[in-house]
């Protein structure tokens, strides 16, 4: 019964206050299940003294008529269903009879109550329903399960009254504040009780509605939580962010985004191309393009063959060549070639759209955030800790993230405050750029040279292994050594790491472009070679078939069985070859990445960690140390890989499936590798929230990968015996065919009209104009924005300096003033003088009397602080008594009005 104990304590401490104020004993007083303590009896006694009246307030629901006559009949039938409040009342009324003797002892309290009581009585009788009581009313009635008729009637009456009050509120001669409170209370009351008033059903409906509202709120909350939980890898990324900073996390966020995009693309191509083909297309082995040729059959299932995506994999739905050129397939009459073409186009369309859209939304977000520059450290200092943390691991993460964010801010701060020799920096930057351009030119020439040489080698007969793989070796060597070289050179430039990262990304991007370019060049050569051979193969095929059917020595009356599809000679199908090339590249890229991580990061970390005991020098601090996470390399790897996917997926629909797998595994693998074997960067820097730079690079790569695909689609003839477009002159002919055969003729006309250059060129011009206009508008706006920000900053600085000067001045003046009229000021404490002196500075012109007047204006604080006054010299302790008001005064200058408070 701790509350009772506490109640007693309170009583001792003069805690009757609450009772006196509210005008009636607290329900808590009588709430105890053991009503025999002193406290309850006291309360009881007090009530008995009022005789008939007390029931009034115990029945907050309100009885129609006060007095015991009402209570008596109600007591018995209601006992079962009555809520605790009323039952308590009954109980206490019984006790009333038994404990009358104690009443006298408690005369003091009851007297107090008595005094408070009449007022309250009046309120109820007068039906004016003053404010605080309505809350208690609400509390007990709203929870009552069943209300008696009388109570209902009474509530009804009250509700009506409240309504009337609301209606006539305007005419009442009350002050505005009172009107407002009354109005609000009345409204709340009506709202609460109107539903409860309905007979039976209405009430249930009301309760139901309330419950539903509550459930709805809860559901919304749960749903929000669920939504947050559904963000994949959020915890992992947050974990990494807290340890490695936002820059490393930005890579993983980018990876996650990429995974989402690839998932959509995969869904598109899988649902609209691969599945229909597998379900409804002609089965494997029925036609030549879907059959492994006789020559390859023996080895078609070997792993080494499959690993190279030859054999059965080559003749499967994963590649372009497998698809038939039937216009429609299956009972759905699904137009597969058309679907194939449209999916290929829409993949690029979707990618472009999503990249540009996310870029746009990132820019919008970044402008909204960039305003908190003023108080970076204050924000971090005062609001970064999460006081709800109740888990030591979370606390550790929070430590790490706060530390990281502080470090990031420190780097930013250092960079912004760096004072340096402008000319030297400029010279160094020019030098660095020159060196890097030299490197790039050199590597470009090297690639060119190697590619030329490889073309010569390919004509020769017996070439060594090195000569065959020279291009790849040179490329990977360049890719291995150039980025560190660039990084070394970039150290000259002395950029902020964030900007430095961008430069680094741009430079490696240029280097990788060479990689891409040679690859594409080799591929194109291959394709052209195959196309040149195609004509002869086509003739051979025709000849074979012709000879097969027309050869002599076969009975003409019986038609010959068709030639087995595996035996039909066929073309090289350059589309599939391209697809296989991209597939191989993706897989080998993935493996190289994983192995690099495993060896370069994990094994190195293991070695450093465990060999450190028995080594000549400190491995952790010295040479090998732990690896840092290579943001630029990883981001660019991801971007170029995506470029490969975009280029390859038209010719190898299965490529996207592999890529989805790759991204998924690399998410887990890299997360693990980062957390287990990397150390944070020496200078953790904050990534710009919008990783628009990555997006920009991605867009560029997307564009670059769109070009070759568009070129092959628009200007190369498809193979004659494989793929959905075989037999057509160009791949896009499928569009024309569909429009002619499946659409009404007027649509065809409209399309033809739309394709008219006379319409397209103006449209493009219009777009350019719109872009130009919008661009200039946004530039103007951002300039205005920057100017406003500068203004705010300047204003703040002025204000700050002004204040500090003022304070210093006032401090010194204050001292002199103290010397002037010590007797008045002696009692004052440090925070006071500021206000006084401010007045003084204001009134200074009026001369010496001003000091007096200002002093007289604030007599109250002076006297108030008399008790806690201290000798003048003790400054540090000053401000103990009324600290908060002090800056207020100094800020607003309204010292005189404020001080007496």
């Amino acid at each position: 019964m701790s509350h009772q104990l506490k109640g007693l304590e309170k009583e001792a401490g003069g805690g009757v206050r609450g009772r006196a104020r509210s005008g009636h004993p607290h329900p808590g007083d009588r709430s105890g299940r053991r009503p025999s303590t002193k406290r309850t009896s006291k309360a009881k006694g007090s009530r008995v003294q009022h005789g008939v009246q007390p029931s009034q307030k115990e029945r907050p629901g309100g009885s129609p008529r006060p007095g015991s006559p009402w209570r008596k009949p109600m007591e018995r039938p209601a006992r079962r269903s009555r809520p605790e409040g009323l039952r308590r009342l009954e109980r206490s009324s019984m006790e009333e009879r038994t404990c009358q003797g104690r009443r006298k002892r408690d005369g003091r309290t009851s007297f107090k109550e008595q005094r408070a009581h009449p007022k309250k009585e009046k309120e109820v009788v007068g039906k004016e329903l003053k404010k605080p009581r309505s809350s208690s009313l609400v509390s007990s009635t709203s929870s009552d399960e069943s209300l008696s008729e009388e109570e209902l009637a009474r509530i009804l009456e009250q509700v009506e009254e409240k309504k009337k009050l609301i209606a006539t509120m305007r005419n009442k001669p009350w002050p505005m504040a009172k009107k407002l409170t009354e109005l609000r209370e009345a409204q709340a009351f009506v709202e609460n009780y109107e539903g409860a008033l309905g007979k039976g059903k209405g009430k249930r409906l009301y309760a139901y509605r309330m419950q539903m509202a509550k459930k709805w709120v809860k559901f919304k909350r749960d749903f929000d939580n669920f939504k947050t939980q559904c963000i994949p890898w959020e915890m992992k990324i947050k974990d990494i962010e807290s340890h490695f900073g936002s820059s490393v996390a930005s890579y993983f966020i980018f990876l996650r985004w990429m995974y989402g995009v690839n998932l959509v693309l995969f869904g598109l191509i899988f649902g609209l191309v691969i599945i229909p083909e597998v379900l409804m297309g002609v089965p494997y082995g029925s036609i030549p393009r879907k059959t492994v040729p006789r020559a390859e059959e023996a080895k078609a299932m070997d792993f080494s063959v499959l690993w190279d995506f030859e054999g059965y994999i080559k003749y499967s739905a994963l590649f372009y060549g497998y698809y038939n050129n039937q216009r429609t397939i299956g009972w759905l009459r699904y137009r597969l070639p058309m679907a194939y073409f449209m999916v290929g186009v829409s993949m690029f369309g979707y990618s472009l759209m999503i990249v540009i859209r996310s870029m746009a939304s990132n820019t919008q977000g970044s402008t909204g955030e960039g305003e908190n520059d003023n108080f970076t450290f204050s924000f971090k200092m005062f609001t970064s800790w999460d006081y709800l943390i109740g888990n030591s691991e979370t606390a550790d993460n929070k430590y790490a993230s706060i530390t990281t964010s502080f470090k990031e801010s420190i780097v930013d701060e250092q960079e912004s405050n760096k004072e340096e020799n402008v000319h030297l920096t400029r010279f160094l930057r020019v030098l660095a750029n020159f060196l890097i351009i030299c490197c790039l030119c050199g590597s470009g020439y090297l690639i060119y040279f190697v590619v030329k040489r490889s073309q010569e080698f390919s004509k020769m007969q017996n070439v060594s292994w090195y000569e065959r793989n020279e291009v790849e070796i040179v490329m990977s060597l360049l890719g291995m050594f150039c980025p560190p070289l660039f990084e070394t050179i970039a150290a000259l430039e002395n950029y902020h790491p964030r900007i430095g990262l961008k430069w680094q990304l741009g430079r490696i991007f240029a280097l990788f472009l060479g990689n891409l370019y040679t690859f594409l060049l080799a591929l194109m050569d291959d394709v052209h070679l195959k196309l040149a051979n195609e004509e002869t193969i086509k003739n051979i095929t025709h000849w074979t078939l012709f000879n097969y059917y027309n050869s002599s020595g076969w009975n003409d009356s019986v038609p010959r069985p068709p030639l087995h599809p595996a035996d039909v000679p066929r073309g090289s199908c350059w589309e599939t070859a391209v697809g296989i090339e991209f597939m191989r590249l993706t897989v080998s890229d993935m493996l190289v990445t994983y192995i690099t991580i495993l060896v370069g990061d994990f094994l190195r970390a293991c070695f450093v960690r465990f060999m450190n005991h028995c080594w000549c020098w400190d491995l952790e601090a010295g040479f090998p140390s732990y690896a840092e996470f290579d943001i630029s390399g990883n981001v660019l790897g991801l971007i170029f890989n995506q470029g490969m996917i975009w280029m390859g997926s038209f010719y190898a629909p299965g490529l996207l499936g592999i890529n989805v797998l790759r991204l998924l595994t690399s998410m887990y693998f890299q997360c693990w590798a980062v957390m287990s074997s990397n150390v944070p960067h020496e200078r953790v820097f904050k990534a710009s929230r919008s990783n628009n730079f990555y997006m920009g690079l991605l867009l560029l790569v997307l564009f670059l990968s769109l070009l070759p695909v568009a070129y092959t689609i628009m200007s190369l003839p498809p193979s004659f015996d494989c793929g959905p477009f075989s037999g057509k002159n160009r791949m896009y002919d499928v569009l024309q065919e569909t429009i002619e055969n499946d659409f009404p003729t007027f649509l065809g006309k409209i399309f033809a009209f739309l394709a008219n250059p006379g319409l397209i060129i103006p449209a493009i011009l219009l777009m350019f104009l719109a872009i130009y206009y919008l661009n200039s508008v946004s530039k103007g706006l951002s300039r205005a924005n920057a100017q406003l920000r500068k203004k705010i900053q300047a204003l703040r600085e002025i204000e700050k300096s002004h204040k500090s000067v003022k304070r210093r001045a006032s401090n010194s003046e204050n001292r002199s003033k103290h010397q002037n009229d010590t007797q008045l000021q002696l009692t004052k404490e440090e925070p006071m003088p500021l206000s006084a002196s401010q007045c003084q500075t204001l009134d200074k012109k009026t001369g010496n009397t001003a000091t007096f007047s200002s002093a007289r204006k604030i007599p109250q604080p002076a006297s108030r602080h008399l008790t806690g006054s201290q000798p003048l010299g003790v400054k540090p302790d000053a401000g103990q008594s009324q600290p908060q008001t002090h800056p207020f005064r100094s800020a607003t200058g309204k010292s005189i009005q404020r001080t007496p408070r």
């Binding site: 019964m1 701790s2 509350h3 104990l5 506490k6 609450g18 509210s22 607290h26 808590g28 709430s31 809520p83 605790e84 409040g85 039952r87 308590r88 809350s135 208690s136 509390s139 709203s142 929870s143 009552d144 399960e145 407002l180 609000r184 909350r221 908190n372 108080f375 450290f377 204050s378 924000f379 971090k380 200092m381 005062f382 609001t383 800790w385 006081y387 709800l388 943390i389 109740g390 888990n391 030591s392 606390a395 550790d396 430590y399 706060i402 530390t403 502080f406 420190i410 204040k803 500090s804 003022k806 304070r807 210093r808 302790d877 401000g879 600290p883 908060q884 002090h886 800056p887 800020a891």
Partner: protein, 196 residues
Amino acid sequence: MGTRSSHVAIIPDVDDIRRDTGFSQASLLRLYHRFRALDRNKKGYLSRMDLQQIGALAVNPLGDRIIDSFFPHGSQCVDFPGFVRVLAHFRPIENEDPGTRDPKQPEPLNSRMNKLRFAFQLYDLDGDGKISRQEMLQVLRLMVGVQVTEEQLESITDRTVQEADEDGDGAVSFLEFTKSLEKMNIEQKMSIRILK
């Protein structure tokens, strides 16, 4: 629901507490049960020891500061009204029109100002109404653990003071504190959803 209302009545001074803090009955009741659960020896108040035995709080490196905030002015015990008053700072702000509030009444405990004042107290270790460099340094040390050198910590605090300090006294007063957090969404950050 009927049983609940009866339970509420077991809390002493329930109406006063409700008026002060604005808690609903249900949450008051919940808090009361919690209070009594924390109160080990049924002594009617909580001591520091009681609060320190909350596991989640003991884990929080700043748990001591939180506990201190329950014991204003160096007292060693907190009764239920005090307990609730502290927690009332974290009641979410209802979006009712502030114009309808009686201007004479004191601001509700969960107002922005009071929330900020509470946060301020967490940093103001000696209660002099100013966050001095030393105080800031102490709390910061709790916040970042041992991963940052002393020198860096000092530069961080210096920087913070420099940012927030307006009158040049080398400490952050409450007003400067509010000003520096002007743009921070305190109403949302310092609200605990369950304390409706």
